[in-house]
């Protein structure tokens, strides 16, 4: 039985929604037979060895890398459509690594690092964002959350993280 964390939600409507979503869902049992048919035809031998120990590993890996590069290219171009350049700056003299996390990068601390500008303690990054409203904040040395002082703040979240809001028009 999975844990129930819905007590964290302060909103009754959300708690009701979660209760609804936690109802059992029945998929078509035909999935079982279809999977077994596929195994018998495409992978008839028992899966004894890790795939990367096979002689085809290098070829598979290279093909995978090429596929990822191929798939990413049009996505990147797509992201540029209608996007506008936005420069974010932060003065963090004590920091050795500064990243920005927000709605535009799904709050992923690995996605958008800032780089030193050459001015002492000043970091910057240029983003390309589509028109919209974005919540974001900076993370200094993976432990200190710092909101952007040049943009309006938003009220403190439940997690106590200071954030700013950026509007791209």
């Amino acid at each position: 039985m999975p844990a129930d964390h819905s007590h964290e939600l302060q909103d009754e409507t959300l708690r009701r929604a979660v209760a609804e979503l936690r109802r059992p869902v029945a998929l078509d049992p035909e999935i079982d037979a279809a999977t077994l048919r596929r195994i018998r035809t495409q992978a008839p031998r028992p899966p004894g060895q890790p795939w990367w120990r096979s002689g085809r590993a290098a070829v598979t890996l290279a093909a995978g890398v090429l596929l990822v590069l191929f798939l990413r290219a049009p996505a990147s171009e797509h992201m540029m459509n209608g996007a506008r350049p936005v420069e974010l700056r932060l003065v963090a003299p004590a920091g050795s690594r500064v990243v920005v996390v927000g709605d535009f990068n799904d709050w992923d601390p690995a996605a958008t690092p800032l780089r030193p500008t050459g001015e002492p303690g000043v970091w910057k990054v240029e983003l390309r964002l589509k028109p919209g409203r974005y919540h974001y904040t900076f993370l200094v040395d993976q432990r200190q959350w710092v909101r952007d002082p040049s943009e309006p703040p938003v009220p403190l979240t439940d997690f106590g993280t200071p954030m700013s809001v950026l509007t791209v028009s």
């Binding site: 844990a3 998929l27 078509d28 079982d32 018998r40 899966p47 795939w51 709050w107």
Partner: protein, 178 residues
């Protein structure tokens, strides 16, 4: 008494496909619920599950903790959902059509309408937010488990859950207001 996951994995590795059929049957619906809500329609969810079971079978030798087969399989399902969801986004076919389960108790019509409202709201969330919300509140994972499944770190996941909750609350409020 049914066999443990570890026993079924061992039998599968020894060539017993019936043992793997038992694992499929055991996890089809439990992980299928996540897939259904993540990709937004039953047909693609079934494709996700079939593909995940097939990939898991081929890589079963990589499953280092057979007693935690379900958690290992869940990681594969999460990744397959991401792949299918990206394809759906490109094709603009994400419908938010959700599992149409008739509730065992209560008013079936109103509950189905409520379920459809939730699915529409859920479908309009960004995929990473939807993923985090489902893992936390529907699948009941702890944040360290979510980090293992998604590859994201815990602060990012907490923020995604928070943003998803905020947006879902607003969306459900809008639906009720309209």
């Amino acid at each position: 008494m049914s066999d443990s996951d570890a026993a079924l994995v061992a039998r599968t590795l020894a060539g017993d496909l019936d043992a793997y059929a038992q694992l499929i049957s055991r996890y089809r619906d439990t992980l299928g619920r996540y897939a259904s809500y993540m990709v937004g329609n039953r047909e693609d969810a079934q494709e996700v599950m079939q593909d995940s079971f097939f990939r898991a079978y081929r890589s079963l030798g990589d499953c280092r903790q057979p007693e935690r087969f379900g958690a290992w399989l869940f990681r594969i399902v999460v990744n397959r959902c991401r792949t299918v969801q990206r394809r759906l986004s490109r094709d603009r076919q994400f419908t938010g059509e959700l599992p149409s389960e008739v509730p065992a108790n209560g008013d079936a019509t109103s509950s189905l309408e409520w379920g459809e409202e939730i699915s529409r709201a859920l479908a309009s969330l960004r995929p990473h937010y939807r993923e985090a919300f489902l893992l936390r509140y529907v699948e009941g994972l702890e944040y360290d488990e979510m980090a293992k499944v998604t590859g994201a770190n815990q602060p990012a996941l907490r923020m995604r859950v928070k943003r998803a909750s905020d947006q879902l609350r607003e969306l459900l409020r809008d639906i009720h207001a309209s």
